[in-house]
C-alpha cells in the first residue's frame, strides 16, 4: 500500500476510499480461492432416515419398529451419540423413521443407520437397501407429506397426524428435541391442518361399510332422524351399523331369525330388536334397510318394495344389501324413490372416492410445497439475522483497524479531521456492504441459492459459527 500523503482532511478522501476498497476486495479474493476447495456445509444439517410400506415388507417393518414403551430410552440413547443434536423417532405399522439434526451430515447419516441396524437386528446391508435418506429440504418435505397423509398407505387417512403428534410429544418429554425440530414439527402439523381444511382429501370414505353411510347421506341428507333397520345379525352388518351410528343415526332396529342374536346386536347400539316375521311393516317404517343375512333367498322382492312405497307415501328409502348371495331383488332400484346398492356398488363408491382423493392430493402437494418453502424461509431468516449483524460488525472492525493503522503512520490529527476521516471510511465501507446486506435480507424463496449465497458471505468475511454464539 502506498504511503498516504499528509495534509488537510480533503486530501484524505482518495486515501480513505482506496483503503476501504482494497480491504474489501482483498478479503473477497483470498476467500474465494479457499471457497472453491472446500465442500458446502448447509445451515440446517437435517437428516431423515427410514423405511415405509413402499420400501420394506411387513416383516422388515416389524423388526425395525420401536416399542412405544422403549421409545424414550431409544431416543436418549441416539441423542447421546456424538454429533447428534436433536432427534425424533416415528414408528407406526407402516413406517419407521429417524429424524435428526446433526453436526455433520456424512457422519450423522452413518450414526443413524448404524443405530437403526442395532435396534432392529437387521444387518447393515439388508437394511441399507430398504432405507430412504433425505437431507434438509427433502427431509422437511417428507415430514410435511407424512403429516398430511400424502405418504400413507391409504391416501388421506386421518390417523397419521395423531400418531406423529404422540411421537413428537414422546421426544419432547425425553428431551431430545430443540428449536429446530420443534419448529419443524409445528410447521408440519400446520401444513397437515391446512391440507385437511383446504382440500377434501379426507371427505371421501374408502371402506365398504362407510361407503354405505356416504350413499345414505347423499340421498337422505343428515342421518340424525333416519330410521335404520338391519336385517340379519352378521359381522359385516354390524360394521356398517357402527358407521351409520357414528354418522348420527339414533333409531336403530334389528330383525333377525334368531331373536337372541337380534337382541344382542340391538343392545350394542341402544337399538330395538323387532320380530322377523313382520318384516314388511318394519321396512316401511325405515329410511335405510341394511340386509346382511346368511339366507340364500331373496327376502325383499320388487312387489314387496312397491307395497312398502305405497305405505311410505313415496318417502325415499335406501336398501343396502351386503349379503352374498343377495337378499334384495336388484330390480327394486327401478322404483321411484327407492335406492338399491349391493356390495359391488359400494365397491364402486370406494373406487370413485379413492380417485377423488388422488385428485385432491394434487392440491395437497401444492399446499405442502408452499408450507415447506415458507418454513425454509423462516429457518433461513432465523439463521440470517445473526449473519447480517456479524457482517456489519466485521466491516466496522476492519474500518477501525485500518484507520488506526493509517493514523499511526501519518501522525496525529486534529479532532475535526479525525471525525471526518472516520465518517468517510465508515460511509464507504457501508456503501460497499449495503448491496450485500439488502440482498441477504431479501433472500427467502429460492432455498438452494440462498444457502449458497449466505455461505459465501460467511466465508468471504470470515464469519464463522464461533461468532454466532
Amino acid at each position: 500500500m502506498r504511503a498516504p500523503p499528509q495534509g488537510a482532511a480533503g486530501v484524505c478522501f482518495g486515501d480513505a476510499m482506496r483503503l476501504a476498497v482494497e480491504t474489501a476486495s482483498g478479503l473477497v479474493r483470498s476467500q474465494l480461492r479457499r471457497l472453491k476447495s472446500s465442500s458446502g456445509n448447509s445451515i440446517l444439517n437435517l437428516l431423515l432416515v427410514g423405511l415405509n410400506h413402499r420400501t420394506a415388507g411387513l416383516e422388515t417393518r416389524e423388526l425395525a419398529s420401536f416399542d412405544e414403551s422403549g421409545l424414550p430410552e431409544a431416543l436418549r440413547r441416539l441423542a447421546g451419540r456424538p454429533g447428534v443434536e436433536e432427534v425424533i423417532i416415528f414408528s407406526t405399522c407402516n413406517r419407521v423413521e429417524l429424524l435428526a439434526r446433526v453436526e455433520k451430515k456424512p457422519e450423522g447419516l452413518e450414526t443413524l443407520e448404524s443405530f437403526l441396524s442395532e435396534t432392529s437386528s437387521l444387518t447393515g446391508e439388508h437394511l441399507s437397501r430398504k432405507l430412504y435418506r433425505y437431507h434438509d429440504d427433502q427431509a422437511i418435505r417428507h415430514v410435511f407429506r407424512v403429516a398430511s397423509s400424502l405418504d400413507s398407505m391409504i391416501l388421506g387417512e386421518p390417523q397419521i397426524l395423531g400418531q406423529l403428534k404422540s411421537f413428537y410429544s414422546i421426544a419432547v418429554e425425553a428431551g431430545t428435541t430443540g428449536t429446530y425440530l420443534n419448529g419443524l414439527l409445528q410447521a408440519a402439523f400446520h401444513a397437515a391442518k391446512r391440507v385437511r381444511s383446504e382440500t377434501s382429501i379426507g371427505d371421501y370414505s374408502v371402506s365398504v361399510s362407510s361407503a354405505a353411510v356416504d350413499l345414505a347421506r347423499k340421498i337422505l341428507g343428515e342421518l340424525q332422524k333416519a330410521a335404520i333397520l338391519i336385517v340379519g345379525a352378521g359381522k359385516m352388518g354390524e360394521l356398517a351399523v357402527r358407521h351409520l351410528a357414528g354418522a348420527g343415526a339414533k333409531l336403530i332396529r334389528v330383525a333377525n331369525r334368531s331373536p337372541a342374536a337380534a337382541h344382542d346386536l340391538a343392545q350394542k347400539f341402544r337399538g330395538e330388536a323387532v320380530p322377523f316375521d313382520n318384516l314388511m311393516k318394519w321396512i316401511s317404517l325405515s329410511d335405510v334397510v341394511l340386509t346382511s343375512t346368511g339366507s340364500p333367498e331373496i327376502l325383499i322382492a320388487r312387489p314387496m318394495a312397491e307395497e312398502v312405497m305405497m305405505q311410505r307415501k313415496n318417502e325415499p328409502i335406501v336398501f343396502i344389501d351386503i349379503s352374498v348371495p343377495r337378499n334384495v331383488d336388484p330390480r327394486v332400484g327401478t322404483i321411484d324413490n327407492v335406492f338399491y346398492y349391493n356390495v359391488d356398488d359400494l365397491g364402486a363408491v370406494v373406487d370413485a372416492n379413492l380417485q377423488e382423493r388422488r385428485k385432491e392430493a394434487v392440491l395437497a402437494e401444492k399446499i405442502v410445497e408452499q408450507e415447506v418453502e415458507s418454513f425454509c424461509a423462516r429457518l433461513r431468516s432465523l439463521d440470517r439475522s445473526p449473519v447480517v449483524a456479524q457482517l456489519q460488525r466485521r466491516i466496522e472492525e476492519i474500518c477501525q483497524a485500518e484507520l488506526e493503522r493509517y493514523l499511526k503512520r501519518s501522525g496525529p490529527r486534529s479532532e475535526k479531521e479525525l471525525q471526518e476521516l472516520e465518517w468517510m471510511v465508515s460511509r464507504i465501507a457501508g456503501k460497499i456492504a449495503h448491496p450485500l446486506i439488502t440482498q441477504m435480507k431479501s433472500l427467502s424463496h429460492d432455498s438452494l441459492h440462498d444457502e449458497a449465497y449466505l455461505d459465501t458471505i460467511k466465508r468471504i468475511f470470515k464469519l464463522q459459527k464461533n461468532s454466532e454464539t
Partner: protein
C-alpha cells in the same frame, strides 16, 4: 349513480367466477368468498335501485332494463336467503350466471331519461310488479333445485359416481329447497294475479279480460297449483316433482314473454 351500478356488476361478476371455481374445485374458501362478494354486490344493488327510484320518482320496474335489473335483484335476494337456509355450496354456480346475464342485458338496454306512461303511475303496479318478480325468482329456484335433483338422482340410480355426485347436495336438500321455493313462489304468484286483476279493473275497466298475459299466467299458476297439491298429498316427490317444476318454469318463461305479443300488458 352509474358507478354504483358498475360496482354492483363488478362484485357480481367476481362473485360468479369465485363460485364457479369453488364449484369446480370443491373449494369451500372460494364459495365463502363468492358469498361475501355477492352479499356486498346485493347491498350496492339495493342502494342503486333506491337511488334510481328516488331519481325517477317511481319503483324501477316500469320498462325492460329496469325490470331486468329488478329481477336480478330478486334472484340475488332469493339466492342469499336459500344459501343461508340450506348451505348449498353449488347454488351460486347455478343461480349467479343468470344474475350476471340479467345485469348485462339491463345495462345494454339501458335508457336514460325514461318517461313512464301515466297508467303505470300506480301503487298497484308497483306492488303487482315487484311481487311478480319475486315469484319468478322463487320459481327459478324451484327449477334449479329440480334440475339438481334430477342430475344427482341420475348419478345415484345409475351407480356411476362421477363429477356431479361429489359436488351436488343430497337429494333430500334438493327436494326440500324445491318444496320451499315452490310454496313461496306459489303464494307470491297468487298475490300477483289478484293484484293484477285489481289493477286491470282500474286501468282497463275489467278484472279479467283473457288478455294473453292473463291467460298464460293462469295456466302457469294452474301447473304450480297441481304441483303444490300433489306435493301436499306427498305422493309426488322426488323425480316427478322435479319434472313438473321444469315444466312450470318453462310455462313461467312463456308467461313472461307474453308482453311482447298483442297484449294489453305491453309494458312487461
Amino acid at each position: 349513480m352509474a358507478w354504483v351500478l358498475q360496482i354492483t356488476m363488478a362484485l357480481y361478476t367476481v362473485g360468479l367466477l369465485h363460485s364457479l371455481f369453488g364449484f369446480y374445485q370443491k373449494r369451500k374458501l372460494f364459495i365463502n368468498l363468492a358469498l361475501i362478494l355477492v352479499v356486498a354486490g346485493f347491498a350496492s344493488h339495493t342502494a342503486f335501485l333506491i337511488l334510481l327510484g328516488i331519481e325517477r320518482r317511481h319503483v324501477p320496474i316500469t320498462n325492460l332494463p329496469e325490470s331486468l335489473c329488478f329481477f336480478a335483484w330478486s334472484l340475488t335476494l332469493t339466492f342469499i336467503v336459500a344459501y343461508f337456509r340450506y348451505k348449498i355450496n353449488v347454488l351460486g354456480a347455478f343461480v349467479l350466471p343468470l344474475v350476471s346475464s340479467l345485469m348485462i342485458l339491463s345495462e345494454l338496454a339501458w335508457e336514460e331519461n325514461h318517461a313512464i306512461p301515466p297508467i303505470l303511475k300506480s301503487n298497484w303496479v308497483y306492488f303487482h310488479g315487484s311481487v311478480a318478480f319475486l315469484a319468478y325468482a322463487a320459481f327459478f329456484l324451484t327449477f334449479i333445485s329440480g334440475v339438481l335433483y334430477l342430475i344427482q338422482e341420475k348419478e345415484l340410480k345409475s351407480k356411476k359416481f362421477r363429477f356431479f355426485y361429489f359436488r351436488l347436495p343430497s337429494l333430500q336438500v334438493c327436494d326440500e329447497l324445491l318444496r320451499r321455493s315452490l310454496f313461496a313462489g306459489f303464494v307470491l304468484m297468487s298475490i300477483t294475479i289478484i293484484t293484477g286483476a285489481f289493477w286491470a279493473q282500474q286501468a282497463w275497466g275489467h278484472f279479467w279480460s283473457w288478455d294473453p298475459k292473463q291467460t298464460t299466467s293462469l295456466i302457469t299458476w294452474a301447473i304450480y297449483l297441481i304441483l303444490v297439491l300433489y306435493r301436499l298429498s306427498s305422493s309426488w316427490r322426488g323425480r316427478r316433482a322435479a319434472y313438473i317444476s321444469i315444466v312450470g318454469f318453462v310455462s313461467a318463461l312463456f308467461t313472461f314473454s307474453m308482453s311482447w305479443f298483442r297484449s294489453l300488458h305491453a309494458y312487461l
